[in-house]
Every structure is written in C-alpha cells, then in structure tokens.
Amino acid sequence: MCLGVPGRVVRWINRESNFAKAEVEFSGVRREIHMACVTDANLGDYVIVHAGIAICLVDEVEAEQTLAELKSLGENSDETP
C-alpha cells in the first residue's frame, strides 16, 4: 500500500499548486504524475511516487552518503578473513 517508486522529473506540465503535474520517467517509461506535494522539484530531480502523486524529493547528498557508507562497509568486510 505504501509502495513508492523513484522516478526522474523530465518535464513540467502544470505548476499551479493543487493541479501541479509533471512527466516523470521510471526506467524509460514516462508517466504524468501529480506534483502538489513537491512543487519545488527541478527537472532531473528524483521524486518518490505513490498512488499517482509524488510524495517527496530524493535527497542526492544523503543518498551518496549512504552509498559511500555501504562501500566502506564492503571494503572493511574484504579485509576481515
């Protein structure tokens, strides 16, 4: 029910608050998504989409930090016999 899928904002259709809409791309497939909760998204930003609306922006800095942690985790475990 709370499933959310990350997609990339590729084109704004309407930026009018409650009717805001954009085209969002998911693995090459584009869909019209309601954007009333993330009207400040820029083209190229990733949003999490749930039940036809974008519920939040993906924070690239935080994502990179998490991935960096994961990488160091992998390296550490390589060192341990």
Binding site: M1, G4, C56, L70
Partner: protein, 368 residues
Amino acid sequence: MKHLDEYRDAAASQSLITDIRARATRPWVLMDVCGGQTHNLVRYGIERELADCVELIHGPGCPVCVTATELIDFAVALALRPNTIVASFGDMLRVPGSSQSLMQARERGGRIQIVYSPLDALALARQHPNAEIVFLAVGFETTAPATALAVIQATKLSLNNFSIVPAHVRVLPAMETIMRMPDNRVEGFLAAGHVCCITGFEAYQPFASRFRVPIVITGFEPIDLLRGILKTVELLETGQAIVKNQYSRTVQRQGNLAAQSIIDQVYEVDDRDWRGFGTISGGGYRLRAEYSLMNARQKFADVLPPKGRGDVDCRGADVMSGKIKPKQCPAFATTCTPQSPLGAPMVSSEGACAAYYRFEPLPIKVPS
C-alpha cells in the same frame, strides 16, 4: 533504476548480515509497521536468514487488513446501488466483508473499478458525469495526501458526482496500542519509511522515551531493511531508546510540509475502528465538515450497513500485534488461502499471511 538497484547489492547485504550477527548478543524482537517491508523481509529471506539472532514480527502495517468489515459492507452496498461505481485499490477486492467481498459483489453485478490512484477515480467521475463515483479511501499517512488532493480538486472542479469513503488510518496510535498490550513483545521498531516521508519523525521522539523503545526509520529495499535492523540492534545493545533515521535520502525530520498541509485542509484526526483491534484513539482521519458533500457516509446514508460482524476464525489481530506468526494460525494454508480467505491479511498484497503463503516455502534467497 537509480535509487533502487544500489540498495539490492548482494555483497553489501551479506556484510550487513554479518554485522547484525556480530552485534546481537540475544535474539531481540523487532517489529516492522509497513506491509511493504513485511513482504520484502520475507521475499528476500531476511527474516529467515536472521532468525537465530533477531526475531522479526510484523505489525499492523497493512491498511487494507485493518479496514473495518463495516466499511467493506458499505462499499459492497454502494457497488450494488444503481448508477454507482465504487473505485478502489485492487488490494481491497478480495477482503472478506461480513457476508461478501467486493469481488463477490462484482460477480452479482456490482460495479467496481480498480484504480491505481485516487486521482484516477476523479478522472472517472469526469468521464461518467451521470454516474456516482465513490472512492474507497484506505491507506496510511502515505496515501492520505493523494486522496485529500482528489477531494480538493473535485471541489475546485465542482464535481458533484464524486465522493469518498474516508477510511485512512494513522500509524503511531497503532504502535502505541501495541506497546500498551499487557503481553507486548516488541523491543524495537522499524518505522515505516514512506509514512515518515509525509509525517517526519518528530512525534516518534517522545514515543521512544515514553515506551523505552528504539525506533529506526527504515526504507524498503534489502539494504535499507538490513541497515534499519542493524541500527535498531545497535541501539538495543547500547540501551538507547531513541529515534534514528536510516532512510535519510527521502525522510526529513519535519516530513513534507506541503503534503501535511494538504492532509490538514481536508481531514482531521479521529478515532477509528481497526479490524481486529477495536477502536484506536486518534487512529484515523475523518473528512472536515466543509467537505461533507463529498463524504459518502453522509451522501449515501441510506445504504450504510449496520456495524460489521467481527472476524470469527481469523487471528489477524494476533498476527499484527506480533503474538503469533502467520504460520502459527491454525487456519493458515488449511482453511485460509488466498483463494478462500478467512481474513484480510491473507489477501491483501501487503498482508503478513499473504507474504508467508507466497514466499516462505522458497529457500533462503539473498538478493542478487
């Protein structure tokens, strides 16, 4: 897909599993409160893989499963009402009502349209100006902004053939209900990531200290789940009943203020009858009086059913409060199957019983 595939890496999963094993000095009992997490914990074999060091129990994280039978009965009555179409998420269709499910109502001529979004239900109302479209608005805080937006748009468009059955539930009051149960076993929570995208996690801090329980905001992919589990175990091992955010790429402390304000415009917090649990104080949202024209309960009060019958043989509430695992229910896979369910957790795509029925016979699977 970016922001998805990176969190399914097999090597990183393995090293997180090793870390969890190394950290846990006793089998801690952790509860997830999101059906999507439940399914992935079982699907990827994480629950089984970690069984020797962490017991994962699955809380009331499936909104479909906790929707009162009375609301299913109401939706059935609406679907059978002339000139009326019930729009619903697909999950709801097989859920047993007091006497029948929406699927069974459909076989008897009831009109039900599966939609992916409440905004699709709104589009349906525009396409069928002479029919009444009623959306069955279930879901947690994650889904509430979408249904609230549909109500706002319908109002602005003066669509008077659109209404909703308000059935939204709120996660935190349910977590509190579980913590207050005399035989509660939960020692740590994996909090539902996408609910927190909307609500943020300020409200979890006082909860964590009051009930002396660590809470870790957790995502959905295998790596996210394992990081959430590892952090919760670390907090338990060091005796810290605090909140940590392990899903920081999407969850901010304050949540999404725009989404909160959309919810606020349309809904107010209300007590709610949770299937199997009874009334939970503050456990749901009701429509504000300004939107009563869109409230199907008022608009179609003539077909409101009497209070629904409780489930007789389903132990869904025991499963969802962590007292038993799905397989410990005597009906599991015997008298209760997805084809012939006794309770909602067996048929909702997020129900814990459905997860075990579908994935558990499989051998342990590490994501690759």
